[in-house]
Amino acid sequence: MKLPPNVSHADFAAALAQFAAVVGHDWLFTSDEDLELYRDSYSVNWGEADERTASAAIAPDSAEHVVELVKIANRYRIPIYPISTGKNLGYGGAAPALAGSVVLDLKRMNRIVEIDERNGYVVVEPGVSYFDLYQYIQDRGLKLWIDCPSPGWGSVLGNALDGGVGVTLAAYRSHFDAHCGIEVVLPNGRMMRTGMGAMPGAKTWQQFKPGFGPRIDGLFKQSNYGVVTKMGFWLMPPPENIARGVVTVPQYRDIIPLVDTIGRLEQSKIVQGLWTLSSPTLGTRGDAAHDAGPPAPADPALFAILSDPAGVDMAKLQMAASATGTPFWSAEFTLYGPKRLIEAQWACIAEALEHIPGAQCKLGPVRPLPLPADELAKLFDTGPLGIPSLRTFGLGPMVSYDGEDVVGHVFFSPVIPRTGEAAIEAMDVFAAITRKYRLPGPPLQFPSAIFERAFLFAIGLPVTRSATVNAKIRAIIRELVDVSTARGWGEYRTAPAFFDLIMETYSYNDHALRDFLETIKDAVDPNGIMSPGRYAIRSGQAATKTDHL
């Protein structure tokens, strides 16, 4: 039997017996066969000594169970690692941050506690997936829309806690920001509610985010200060219509005024849907996970320049593109709402962007929602329509890298300034590394506008079952982190294998932030039982650094 670190066999056996007494023997998992399911299928350390595997898993059915389990874990100093649906592929899967932890699998807690059409909110338990919530709304004919990430099987709550994002309107895309009210079991087993929920019988828990006093909800994002057992989320009314508008600009460097102008439109809330950067010249679409696959480059002359092993010569490409009349960039906008609002928004977008010489603006048909089923069936991703799916798993070649079968990918996800200059720099820097290591992917990958004010560059690096190739991928990620850090670009999220690497880069004033987080950790979790090491936060580290505080 695998043991948690620093726990004796006798203590572990006693703790497991007590866990089982709370949840029932059926819901305690210790066999190798069962624990196999808590491995990260996309682990970049698969089969190596430092792969983070669980020693056991328990599946409680209620917040009351969670309270009891946390108290037992404290009694025996057992590290526990809560997961909701455990589908965090690309960022760690269902595996714990610390090897030997007991995974607290909250999938059975899958109740939709409350849903309010009038005020547009829902309160969910951890096991509620985007598919579940969508189906619940459909079955009852509620006039509500959800914002989902590409994979619909994830947890509404778990995705938000890991900082996940979706693809509809800006106000709903950042899932943690769209939440209102948290119920959490703290590491000492005490239950707490944030915001208005701290007032017994409050009628506005899901209506007023700030509550009274300091707003601490953020402490539960990407951290390890408790087991979240309920969370409220704001939902949007279903829009009446959807339309796609496309703006093309001819020159490579037109990306600079393009991004600036769209930025201003976003800041004034004229552009609220996700816009996607694509390139007709390169034949590459941005946010590929959310839209159709890449079209082939328009012209064979362009293809030759694009396939140059020394890298794409942008000046040559620009000339060839101009000769064929192919625009370099296209920005695709998704617009939602009443027809006259869409048309008014588009008029403002077109008016602002037409100042770029050679810009062409075209609004597609304004389509009433919901779209007919046969049309939905043909779409690659239904996320922009508020409908979850798993089609993203069919994207990309997923074939082989360095002669090894690719089994998944691990994300490198830096946040880049929302300017055309930074986008160009990031595209150049990452394309050079892609070429150097012959990584799969288009010659240039584009930034995503999924965040409201910054660009996200989510690069999926191939993961295999070969330790040698995975070691190479880890080294490439370290290189990517180094070049990004040198430019002031930090990662927004990462897999457990890189928690420490990334936290190391957030080192302002001799790691003041990490020291503060670990001071809190010591205070709320002195035994260090709650997801130790998650986002590089651990107990017992702050004591050595108190002179800074």
């Binding site: 059926d26 069962d34 599946a59 598919f131 619909g152 070649p397 997923m398 089994v407």
Partner: protein, 170 residues
């Protein structure tokens, strides 16, 4: 060697038991090799011979279309909840998704064989071997890909391990 006829024979038994009895049977743990449904990947084109074979089988047992969207998701959930064993034909990407969903219903991938979609293969034989427990070549891992040109024939079965949870996982 168990033939396709045998497979269809047991499938017919299962199909005839659709309804409450079917669900009860599934919960109690079915005898091995009784196939409750055939799961077909609709995200990829299937070779003509295989498609024709499926059309024949469609008359003998419930066929569930796998499209990895919200509608198909709830049909798949119901099938997994109610089944002791299902046989599927899909690309690696779809199998990857179905396998993980099946875990939550106490199922495991127990047999798999793969073949290039371009090759004129013995699909009938593959299906019979997978469903009937005959010898199948089973590479240890599969690429979760949609574009590697491989088609997988597989069986997912409810296992009597702890995580199956006799009370039902979801």
């Amino acid at each position: 060697m168990i033939t396709r006829r045998v497979m269809l024979g047991s499938a017919l038994v299962a199909a005839a038991a659709v309804g409450p009895a079917w669900a009860a049977l599934a919960r109690s743990g079915l005898p091995p090799r009784t196939i409750n449904a055939l799961l077909i990947d609709r995200t990829i084109p299937l070779p003509r011979t295989l498609a024709a074979l499926i059309e024949t089988d469609r008359q003998g047992m419930p066929v569930v279309d796998l499209t990895l969207d919200a509608g198909a998701h709830s049909a798949l959930q119901q099938t997994l909840r109610a089944s002791g064993a299902v046989v599927g034909i899909s690309c690696g990407a779809t199998l990857f998704c179905v396998e993980r969903m099946a875990w939550d219903y106490g199922h495991r991938l127990t047999a798999r064989t793969q073949r290039s979609s371009a090759a004129s293969g013995d699909w009938d034989g593959d299906l019979a071997a997978i469903a009937g427990g005959g010898t199948v070549s089973q590479p240890p891992a599969y690429a979760p890909s949609r574009s590697d040109g491989l088609i997988h024939v597989w069986m997912i079965e409810r296992k009597r391990s702890a995580r199956s949870g006799s009370a039902g996982w979801l």
